[in-house]
Amino acid sequence: MTPEEAGLDTKEWEELKSALKREPNDLELRMVGVMWSEHCSYKSTRSLLASLPKDGPYVIAGEGENAGVVRLNHKLGLAFKVESHNHPSAISPYEGAATGVGGIIRDILAMGARPVASMDGLFFGSSDNSRNRRISSGVVRGIGGYGNAVGVPTVGGLTIYDQCYDENPLVNAFCAGILELDKACSSKTAKPGMQVLILGARTGRDGIAGAAFASTGLSGDDGANKPQIQIGDPFYEKLLIEACIELLKEGKIQAMQDMGAAGILSSTSEVAHKSGNGIDIHCEKIPLRETMEPWEIFLSESQERMLLVCLPEDIPYVEAVAKKWNLECALVGEMTDTGFYRVFNRGELLAELPVGILGGDSPVKNWPSSPPKRSASIKTSRSLNAEDVVTELLRVMQHPSMGDHSWIYKQYDSMVQLRTLLGPGNPVAALWIEGAGTVVFSMEANPWICAQDPFNGTALVTALSIRHLSVAGADPMGITNCLNFPSPEIPEQYWELEESVKGLATAARELKCPVVSGNVSLYNESPTSRIMPSPLIVSAGFIPEGINPLPPKPSSNDEGLEVFLV
């Protein structure tokens, strides 16, 4: 394994060696390579995202957590986040979309919350060809297949069609969960001496180095990317959710982390880093489906696994709950005070890295930025006569993105858990939360405007999303977002990303709706096409119990009422 094969450039390689004061061994190099990938380290966007407003009256947890948490009242909180699963869905639509749903559900669970609602933002190609049909039908089946079975209702979403997504479809999965604030979980609360367990499925060779894969453009040759796909099992995930919630209720989990990108490696190193500790992991104790090399074990993205940090005396209890739910449960390591991430195999030390190197101190990338030269054909203003307006309006109304999306959301169970006040087909989604009130979500995106003007476009989309909340009578609590962009390595594209983040920050600040979580997906491009800047915004609002929520839906009785334009 060369540094280049591990995904490090010369500068990163030098930085790594000087941080270690030696050369890393093969396993260490692979681990660093993955943790320093764009997907895990946010190296191209960390500095940009720092400008987002993060605090507000509702915010409890945000930065650096698996999901943002806002307060509904003194007892209950809402955790929510949106995440992309673009590359996997392009390669294998059903499995990619399904595991996207599964992954975001575990992110919410990791905060100690019961997942109560999902939404999906879908960006499909508009060309009428069999590939696009295969992708859209596979993605929709995947989202339904997972969400329906796991029993989390899909209460809304958004579907956009444009040619720029022909080669680069986007699948953004949102999930929200309810937690009791005194049982909230965090990776920050792990302490030396606590035991590290893996609960859930066995580890196999699926999705190895998927994180690194998500950090590069699609090669155009699907075949080469094949082994990296993960398979989801919503049945197993349902058992995992119930088992974790049972353990949380009893206070048997001290810290928790889902295993998403870069599996065991990223979850364990994050827990160690965020809690300011060290961690020892014993390779031979990890339950496997097949024989695997240590590096494969650490990078595998096998689904339906959670990392738990527990007190030694609680282990028997945890094991009993795992047994009840028929889940694998293995004690694989312990938190230490060494500040080192250490991997052992039958006592032999295989890797020893300062926790910070894996968990957050990766070098940042500052790509050159330059505004694109506007082509003369884009007019900023144009006078229209009445006829033009009608023609243009009809043209817009006929766009497939404006069409009826019920073929999609009819395949989603939007009602399970009995909280859905407004499901798909409404301008916002609304959930009844017993003991708190009504939570309202609005998901928005408008890549066409963002392509014209990423700053104002993104600000506008953010404002639109928040406006939807206001119309529903809800007080905005916070925003989560998914920044879907092409490669940041082209100065014009990086500029768009920069502007877009500024637009988001400005709108969020002005409208007093902080950004509590989010996700960045770069390199959404193929050799022949790239996506428009496609930031997706989800805002969450709240209507406390007792206040009359949501204006009534328009009905035929409304005839004769007056319409105001405000």
């Binding site: 079975a149 099992d233 919503p234 349902k238 009602m415 858990q417």
Partner: protein
């Protein structure tokens, strides 16, 4: 009144049923784990919806072989009430407690939507308070809901009045050209056993119970059961 709601691995409407029943009638609802082997003293046993065992192999196939099903069978043989909703209906057919089977929807797609039903008979413990002349609305949410039974047995089911719920067009829609949501034979949405104490249905009454969520036709089902158990019909 005492109600047992069984949780199979992968059940996901178990808590919903509990909530709906507790909000509608005066009943004590207990959750029963699929490995439990006794079900004494319950007036009603509910097999809830969901994807038990992930719907793997055939929906309901594996749950039908779980330990608690022996107790459910004994409970049914004693003449006590059993209600299977959605996946619960699939489990009851797989366990042989109800006739027929539920095949993949004709569209090959999962469908979640409101759905209108005709209550074919109010001569059952589950429907005694319904007015058969008035269609009711319960949502459906399933991928495998196409009721199938070989011809002779189907005729027998019909002639003995064991079809309890049938899909009908929404009010205002002509039956001409209308198709039921999943391709079910004879538009069947719910059936009862010969003894009249085991009901299976694909639509979800618990999703039509809470006022804030919309229609509350489902309440009538819970109240019928309560009424019947008190000795009325």
């Amino acid at each position: 009144m005492k109600v047992a709601v069984i949780t199979f691995p992968g059940s996901n409407c178990d808590q919903d049923v509990k909530l709906a029943i507790s909000k509608s009638i005066n009943a004590k609802v207990n959750m029963i784990w699929h490995t439990d082997s006794t079900l004494d003293k319950y007036d009603l046993v509910v097999l809830p919806g969901g994807f038990s065992y992930g719907d793997y192999l055939r929906p309901g196939a594996m749950s039908a072989r779980s330990p608690v099903m022996r107790a459910v069978r004994e409970h049914a043989h004693r003449g006590c009430l059993v209600l299977g909703i959605c996946n619960g209906f699939q489990i009851l057919t797989e366990a042989g407690l109800l006739k027929g089977t539920l095949l993949t929807n004709r569209s090959q797609r999962f469908i979640c939507s409101p759905c209108w039903l005709k209550v074919e008979t109010n001569q059952t413990p589950f429907t005694c308070l319904f007015n058969p002349a008035e269609p009711v609305q319960f949502p459906i949410a399933h991928g495998d809901g196409m009721f199938y039974l070989p011809k002779e047995e189907l005729d027998d089911l019909e002639s003995s009045g064991r079809v309890v719920f049938r899909y009908v067009p929404p009010p205002g829609v002509e039956p001409e050209g209308w198709e039921n949501p999943n391709g079910s034979l004879n538009n069947i949405a719910g059936i009862i056993n010969e003894k009249g104490n085991v009901l299976g249905m694909m639509p979800h009454p618990e999703r039509a119970t809470l006022k804030r969520l919309g229609d509350t036709y489902g309440t009538m089902l819970w109240r019928s059961i309560e009424h019947w158990l008190r000795g009325g019909i």
